[in-house]
Amino acid sequence: MSSSIASSSSSSSSSSKKEKKISLKTSDGEVFEVEEPVAMQLEIVRSFFADNEDVTEQTVMPLPNVSTAAMHGILEYCRAHEEFRRRMPEAAPEEEVRAFEAGYVDRKSNEELKEMILAANYLNISKLLDFLTGVAAKRIENKSVEYVRAFFGVENDFTPEEEANLRREYEWAFEGVDED
C-alpha cells in the first residue's frame, strides 16, 4: 500500500523541475529527493542546513530514525500543506485541509500512525506531530483499558487485586465504553 503514496509523491515532484532538491536518506537506505520548501518544513533538516554552511546540494542527509514508509507519509502531508500554502498564502483553506487530513489519516493503521508520530517527533515537524497526536488521542478516546494497552504496547504491571481496586474505586469511569 505504500506504493500508492510513492506514486502520488512522484507525480507532484515532477511538476516543478527548477526547484532545488534536497536528498534525504531513510533508515533503510532509500534516498528521497525532496523539494526545498517541503523539506524545510522538517525542522531537523532546516537546522541541519542552517548550521552547516559547507553542505552542498549534493549532500545526502541521513535520517536514521525514519523508515521509508513513514517518510512517504510525512512527505505526503508536507507536500499537501506546501500546496495549500502556495495556493492561498494568506489563509489556508480550512475545509480542504480538514478533508485532506481526514482522508490522509484514515488510511493509516495504528502501527503506521505510531511510526509516523515517532518520525514526526524526530524530524521535529510540530504541526504534523500535533495533528498526529490528536489523531492518536481520538483513536483511544472512550476505549477499553485493554484496547489502550494493545494500542501502546504497554504491559500491565498491576497485580489483579490492584487493578480490581482501581476499577472499583472509579467504577463510573468504566461505564459506557465503546467497543474495541
Binding site: 515517532l118 517527533n121 483511544i140 483499558v145 494497552r149 504496547g153 504497554v154 482501581l166
Partner: protein, 767 residues
C-alpha cells in the same frame, strides 16, 4: 504485538488531549500511566490544554428533582445550547441547598446557600472528587449566627494555585447591614491547604451578600458599598489572587433620576462590565444598561456600551433575596418582641386568632385595640393547634385542641420564653383512654401565692352528649409543689365550659349543669383554699321560648353571667347579670341588657372591666362600652378565637425551661449521644425550639430542603436514636404513634439534650 514504543513526551501529549473520564479509566493501564496521569504537572498541563477549548455552560438548575437535590445541566458552548448532561450533587450540606460560588478550570466551588461561605465545598464533578473546607482563621466568630461571608473563588496563575478569599462581615444577615466591627478576610490556598488571614481596609465596606463575584484578570470583583458614608457610595472591591491584595475600582455614573437600579458585575469579552437593571414601580424591567470598562483599572474608560430595552416588560427574576426575606420572618418577629419588652407597655389584651398554618397570638392594646405585636408559639403540640385554656398574670395555659384537650398542658410565659409542660396525671391509668375528656381551670391562689390548675376528667365520649358513667375524677396541680394531687368529688354535674379562668373570691367558676336533670344549670365553683367544689345558684334569666348561651365571667371583681338570647342566626340581645354579693343568690341583678342592631354571633367576653366584645359579622368585632354605653367597631380584621388578658410577668422563670426562641440552636452535623454514638441530622440546621412528645424531641428547624424555605419540624426519636423530619407542610401537626415506654426518661433526656446541644454550639464558637 506492537513493537513501537512512543516516548513519554508524546504519550504526555496524547493523554493530555483526552477527556477526564478516559484518563481515570486509563489509570489502570499500568503503573507508569497511573503515576503520569496523577502527577501534578500532568494535571496542570491537562488543565491548560482544555481551559479554553471544549467548555460547557454550567447552569445551576433550580428545578428540584424528586430526590430534592438540585441538578446541574451542562450546556454545550455552541450557540444552540443543547443540553449536554445533568448531574446531581452527590453530597449534602447543612441546609440541603447549595449555592455556586464559582467555577474555575472545571473545579466547582459550592457553599451552603443559607450559611453562605461557612462551609465551602470544592468539587470536581468530572472525577467525582470533593474537598470540604470547614476551618477558618476566625474560629471564634466563625459560627456566630449573625455573621455572614462573601466568598470569591479564583485561580492564581503565578503560583498555579486555586484560591478562595472569604470576607467575614459582622452583622445580622437578616437585617440591613450595620457594621458592628470591621470585616475580616482570609485566603485559602489549595496548594498549601490552609487559610491565611489577610488585611482588609478597616471599617468601610459591605459586600452585597447575594451578589455574584466575577473574575477578570486573576482578580475577583465584588459590588460593594461603604458603610461609613450614605448610600450611593458604591464601588467595586477587587481582590488580586496573585498579590493577595484588596483594591478598589470606581464605578461610572450610571444613575439617572427616578429609577431604581439593580447593579450586577459581569464579564463581557474579558472586560469588566456592569449591568444596571432599571425597574419601575411594578417590578418590571424598564431597561438594562451595560457598562464596559474599556481599559482595565481606568475609571475613565467606563462606557455605556449597550442599552437593552425589552419589548415586553420583563418581570424581575425571582432572586434569592426575596426568598431570604421569607425565611427570616420568624427572627424579625422576635426582635420586635424584645423591643416591646424594653418599652414596658401597660396591660394588653391577648387575643388569639388562627391564621393558616400558624399558632399565633396577637397582642392588642387594650385601650384602642391596636395590634401591638404577634406572638408565635415556639413549640408544638400533638394536635394541629393549641387551645388557650387560660391566662393568668402573663402565664399562658395552652393545651392541645380537639380530643386531646387538657391531656398535656403547656404553661408558657411568652415574656421570658419559659415553658413548662405537664404530662403526668394522678390517674395515669385512665389518663390516655380514648373517650375520656378533660376540663381545665387555671387560676392564681392569692393566699398561697401559687398557680393552680384544676383538671376534671370525665368518663364518657367527648363527641356525644355526656352521660355520666361514673363520677368524674379531679386533680389539682400546684406550680409551687410541681405535682398533681387527687381531689374527691361526688360528681353529678357536668361543666359546659371547657376551660375557665374566672377566679372570684379565691375560687374558680364554670357554668355547669346537673347530670341528673339536664335543665338544672348552676355555677360550679372550686375553692382553692379548701380545694372543694361548691355550687352557686343562678338567677332566673329565662325568656320565653328562647334558647340561651350562658358564660361565666368577671365584671369589676364580681361574678357575672353573660346570657345571650339566641334566635336562629345569632343572639338577639345579651343580658349581663352581676352577683353583687358573692355567694348570695338573691343579689343577682340584671345590670345591662345589650341589644345590637346587627345580629351578634357570639359574645367574646368582657375586656377592661367595662367593655363587652361582640362578634357581629365574623370579620367585624364590636366593643360595647358598658359605662359610656357606646358601640365602637374594633379595628381587628382577623378572626378572633379565644381572648384573654395578658400582662407581662416573670412567672415560671425558675420552674420552666427555656424554649430558646430568639437564640437559634445550631446543631452542626448532628448530636452526640453519650460517648458511643453520633446521630446525624439530615438537612435541618437551625433548630429553635424543642419539645418532647411521646419519646421524640421535636424541633422546629429551618430546613431548606424544599424551595419554600418553610420551617419543618425536625424530630429526634429516642427509641431509635435518629433524626427525622415530619414532612407535614406546616410547622405544626405532628402525627405520631403513642409510645408510653421511656416517656419520662425521654423528657429528661430531652432537657439534657438541649443542654448538650447548647454546649456543642458553645464549643463551636470557642473552637
Amino acid at each position: 504485538m506492537s513493537s513501537i514504543h512512543l516516548p513519554i513526551e508524546i504519550l504526555y501529549d496524547i493523554l493530555g488531549r483526552l477527556p477526564v473520564k478516559d484518563l481515570i479509566r486509563y489509570m489502570s493501564v499500568c503503573k507508569s500511566w497511573r503515576d503520569l496521569i496523577t502527577h501534578p504537572n500532568f494535571i496542570s498541563t491537562h488543565m491548560n490544554l482544555h481551559r479554553n477549548t471544549d467548555g460547557y455552560v454550567l447552569f445551576h438548575n433550580l428545578v428540584i428533582r424528586g430526590d430534592g437535590l438540585k441538578c446541574y445541566s451542562c450546556l454545550s458552548r455552541d450557540k444552540n445550547y443543547v443540553e449536554h448532561s445533568s448531574f446531581d450533587i452527590p453530597f449534602s450540606c447543612q441546609s440541603g441547598d447549595f449555592q455556586l460560588v464559582g467555577s474555575v478550570n472545571g473545579l466547582l466551588c459550592l457553599s451552603d446557600s443559607q450559611y453562605f461561605g461557612r462551609t465551602i465545598y470544592l468539587w470536581n464533578p468530572s472525577i467525582w472528587k470533593l474537598k470540604v473546607l470547614r476551618s477558618s482563621c476566625f474560629n471564634h466568630n466563625y459560627c456566630d449566627i449573625g455573621n455572614f461571608s462573601a466568598v470569591g473563588f479564583g485561580f492564581d496563575h503565578h503560583h498555579n494555585d486555586f484560591k478562595i478569599v472569604r470576607i467575614m462581615s459582622f452583622g445580622d444577615f437578616c437585617q440591613p447591614y450595620v457594621e458592628k466591627e470591621p470585616p475580616r478576610a482570609e485566603v485559602y490556598s489549595l496548594a498549601r491547604n490552609s487559610w491565611r488571614r489577610i488585611g482588609i481596609k478597616a471599617g468601610c465596606i459591605a459586600i452585597d451578600k447575594f451578589a455574584k463575584a466575577v473574575v477578570v484578570r486573576g482578580t475577583i470583583h465584588w459590588f460593594a458599598s461603604r458603610t461609613k458614608e450614605a448610600s450611593g457610595s458604591n464601588f467595586i472591591l477587587t481582590f488580586d489572587f496573585g498579590s493577595e491584595e484588596f483594591r478598589e475600582i470606581m464605578l461610572p455614573r450610571y444613575h439617572y433620576d427616578g429609577g431604581r437600579p439593580e447593579v450586577s458585575l459581569r464579564v463581557l469579552r474579558e472586560s469588566l462590565a456592569l449591568v444596571v437593571g432599571w425597574y419601575n414601580n411594578y417590578e418590571l424591567v424598564e431597561c438594562w444598561d451595560v457598562w464596559v470598562m474599556g481599559e482595565y483599572g481606568m475609571a475613565e474608560s467606563w462606557t455605556k456600551r449597550y442599552s437593552i430595552v425589552p419589548e415586553e416588560r420583563c418581570l424581575r427574576r425571582y432572586t434569592f433575596r426575596e426568598e431570604k426575606k421569607e425565611c427570616i420572618r420568624a427572627p424579625t418577629k422576635k426582635v420586635a418582641l424584645k423591643g416591646e419588652r424594653q418599652r414596658r407597655l401597660p396591660v394588653q389584651d391577648l387575643m388569639r386568632y388562627r391564621c393558616i398554618g400558624g399558632n399565633i397570638f396577637s397582642l392588642f392594646n387594650k385601650n384602642n385595640y391596636a395590634l401591638h405585636s404577634i406572638l408565635e408559639v415556639p413549640f408544638s403540640c400533638e394536635t394541629v393547634d393549641f387551645r388557650l385554656a387560660g391566662c393568668v398574670d402573663g402565664l399562658l395555659c395552652l393545651t392541645d385542641s380537639c380530643h386531646l384537650f387538657g391531656r398535656t398542658i403547656y404553661l408558657w410565659n411568652p415574656s421570658i420564653w419559659k415553658l413548662k409542660v405537664l404530662r403526668d396525671s394522678c390517674f395515669a391509668r385512665q389518663y390516655r383512654e380514648v373517650g375520656n375528656f378533660f376540663v381545665i381551670g387555671f387560676g392564681f391562689h392569692h393566699q398561697t401565692n401559687d398557680y393552680k390548675i384544676v383538671r376534671i376528667m370525665y368518663f364518657g365520649n367527648h363527641f356525644c352528649q355526656y352521660v355520666e358513667k361514673q363520677p368524674p375524677k379531679v386533680e389539682v396541680y400546684s406550680l409551687a409543689r410541681n405535682s398533681w394531687r387527687s381531689i374527691g368529688t361526688n360528681g353529678g354535674w357536668y361543666t359546659r365550659d371547657k376551660s375557665s379562668t374566672v377566679v372570684v373570691n379565691g375560687a374558680l367558676h364554670w357554668f355547669a349543669s346537673k347530670t341528673a336533670d339536664a335543665s338544672a344549670d348552676f355555677v360550679l365553683k372550686f375553692d382553692f383554699s379548701v380545694e372543694e367544689f361548691g355550687e352557686i345558684l343562678l338567677p332566673n334569666y329565662h325568656c320565653d321560648g328562647k334558647s340561651f348561651r350562658v358564660s361565666v365571667t368577671v365584671l369589676k371583681e364580681s361574678l357575672a353571667l353573660i346570657v345571650c338570647c339566641l334566635n336562629g342566626y345569632g343572639s338577639e340581645h345579651c343580658d349581663i347579670w352581676v352577683m353583687r354579693e358573692y355567694g348570695v343568690t338573691d343579689s343577682w341583678t340584671k345590670q345591662y341588657s345589650v341589644v345590637t342592631e346587627e345580629i351578634c354571633y357570639r359574645c367574646l367576653g368582657i375586656v377592661n372591666n367595662n367593655v363587652l366584645l361582640l362578634d357581629c359579622n365574623r370579620n367585624e368585632f364590636l366593643s360595647y362600652d358598658l359605662e359610656k354605653l357606646q358601640v365602637k367597631p374594633i379595628g381587628v380584621k382577623e378572626y378572633l378565637g379565644d381572648f384573654t388578658y395578658f400582662t407581662e410577668s416573670l412567672v415560671l422563670y425558675n420552674e420552666g425551661f427555656s424554649v430558646t426562641p430568639r437564640k437559634y440552636l445550631l446543631v452542626e452535623g448532628g448530636i452526640h449521644l453519650g460517648k458511643r454514638k453520633r446521630s446525624v441530622i439530615p438537612s435541618a440546621a437551625y433548630l429553635f425550639s424543642a419539645l418532647v412528645v411521646n419519646g421524640a424531641v421535636h424541633w422546629l428547624g429551618y430546613t431548606t430542603g424544599e424551595s419554600s424555605n418553610i420551617a419543618l419540624p425536625v424530630t429526634f426519636d429516642f427509641d431509635y436514636e435518629k433524626f427525622g423530619e415530619t414532612n407535614i407542610g406546616s410547622r405544626e401537626g405532628f402525627g405520631f404513634t403513642l409510645r408510653r415506654k421511656k416517656r419520662r426518661s425521654a423528657v429528661l433526656a430531652a432537657e439534657q439534650l438541649i443542654m448538650e446541644a447548647e454546649i456543642i454550639q458553645f464549643k463551636g464558637m470557642a473552637r
